[in-house]
Every structure is written in structure tokens, then in C-alpha cells.
Amino acid sequence: MPTETAEPLIREIDIEAAPETVFEFFIDPAKLTRWLAVEATLDPRPGGVCHQVHEGAGPEHRRFSMEGEFVEVDAPKRVVFTWGFSGPDAVVRPGGSTVEVTLSPIDTGTRVRLVHRGLPAAAVADHSGGWTMMLARLAEAVRGA
């Protein structure tokens, strides 16, 4: 399958909170739903489920199911989970990409480094069309959010 893989996407942000506090927002469903998803089922240990429901901001409030799995959980320093969407028309393989989060203590609190790996550069190279579907779903999920 002639799928190109892009360079990993890297984002960083400094947060004025302790790493322990920030870490909870990745593994506690009540906290994850305050910033990333509307529902979450999380079993934060390697191989445990990382299921997030994202809601579209459109009038239909369509819901998109992110079926991930925890790969690494090292509180309060590092958490890694797979990222992909499922659904009747979704052909992107859950597990197709990986989100790695590293928390480092800094004077003012915590530096969060997020690395999203395995995002294919050329969607249509994928036979399944999964990448474009995933984009379409994400677009719906974050529109107006």
C-alpha cells in the first residue's frame, strides 16, 4: 500500500500546573472530557482501552468514535495512546496513528510535548480512503468547537 508517512506532528504548550495535575487530564475520563472529548472510557495501562467520543459542533451533533489503546502509561511523565476512528463508514484502522505525550517539570509548572506519529501524508494513497474519512470526521468534530 503506497501510503506515505509524514514527519511527526509536534506541539508544545506550557501549563501553570503540576505534572501530576496535568497527567490526570489524560487518564481520568471526568477530566479528559473537559478538553478533548464528550465521553471517554479509559483503562490507563498498556493494552487498556482509550475510547473517546468526539461530538460534532454541527446542528446534528454527530458523534465520532475514537477507538484508541494505551501503549505506555508512566505517571506523571509520559502517556502514549493509539489514535484512529471507527464507525460504519470509517475505514481508517484504529491504531493507525499514535499520540505520545511527555510532561516535563519547569519553573512555572509543566511543559507538555505532544507528538502525533503515523499521520499519512497522502490520504488518497490509502486504498481504504481512511485518511480522508478521518479528516472529514475530525473536521466535523472540531467545527466551531
Partner: protein, 108 residues
């Protein structure tokens, strides 16, 4: 970026991109793949894809030939950057609020 997303939301347009990802095809042969879709509708799909930068179009005599323009998808990266920037900004506010609440509890 919005044009790319709007373009790929329609299943037939995704199918067109798959048809011409390895080689060029004429508008006529693309239309032949969709017997249930009118020719003007197929032309409209081709226009949307071309305008979004996802299809390369060239003329050969009276024919128009299309192939997938992979560069068009590099913008997808910007979409993800924006997605995570937006989410992380919300995380920052939520975590800082949480920290202040914890600190207040501890000082009580």
C-alpha cells in the same frame, strides 16, 4: 484547508481521487465509473476537487485529463496542527483551573 475537507466529505469525490491516484483519466472515463450519476454532477465533483487543489487538470484536444494532486493534501497537516493547538489551549485553561482549586483546598 476548509476546501480540502469539504471536497473529501463527499464519498464519490473520494472515489474519484482513488480512481486517478496512479494515472490520468479523462472526464469521460471517470464518469463511466458512476453510471448512476449524471454527467454534469460528475463534472461538478471534478471542479470541486480541482478547485480544492486535489486534482491536476490538463487539456488534450477536446479532452480534459485528471490525476490526483498529492501536494493538495499537505494542508491536512495544518488541520491537525490546528486541532491539537485548539485542544491543548483548552487543556491549559482546565488544568490551571484544577491546580488553583487544589491549591486552595490545601491552603484551607
Amino acid at each position: 484547508m476548509q476546501a480540502v475537507l469539504e471536497a473529501v466529505v463527499e464519498p464519490r469525490r473520494r472515489e474519484i481521487l482513488r480512481l486517478v491516484r496512479v494515472g490520468e483519466a479523462s472526464a469521460g472515463s471517470i464518469a463511466a465509473h458512476f453510471p448512476d450519476v449524471s454527467r454534469p454532477t460528475v463534472s461538478q465533483h471534478l471542479r470541486v476537487l480541482r478547485d480544492a487543489g486535489l486534482l491536476h487538470e490538463r487539456r488534450e484536444g477536446t479532452r480534459r485529463l485528471y490525476r490526483t494532486r498529492f501536494e493538495g493534501f499537505t494542508e491536512a497537516r495544518a488541520f491537525f496542527e490546528e486541532f491539537w493547538d485548539d485542544r491543548l489551549a483548552v487543556l491549559k485553561v482546565a488544568a490551571e483551573t484544577e491546580q488553583r482549586r487544589k491549591d486552595a483546598d490545601r491552603d484551607r
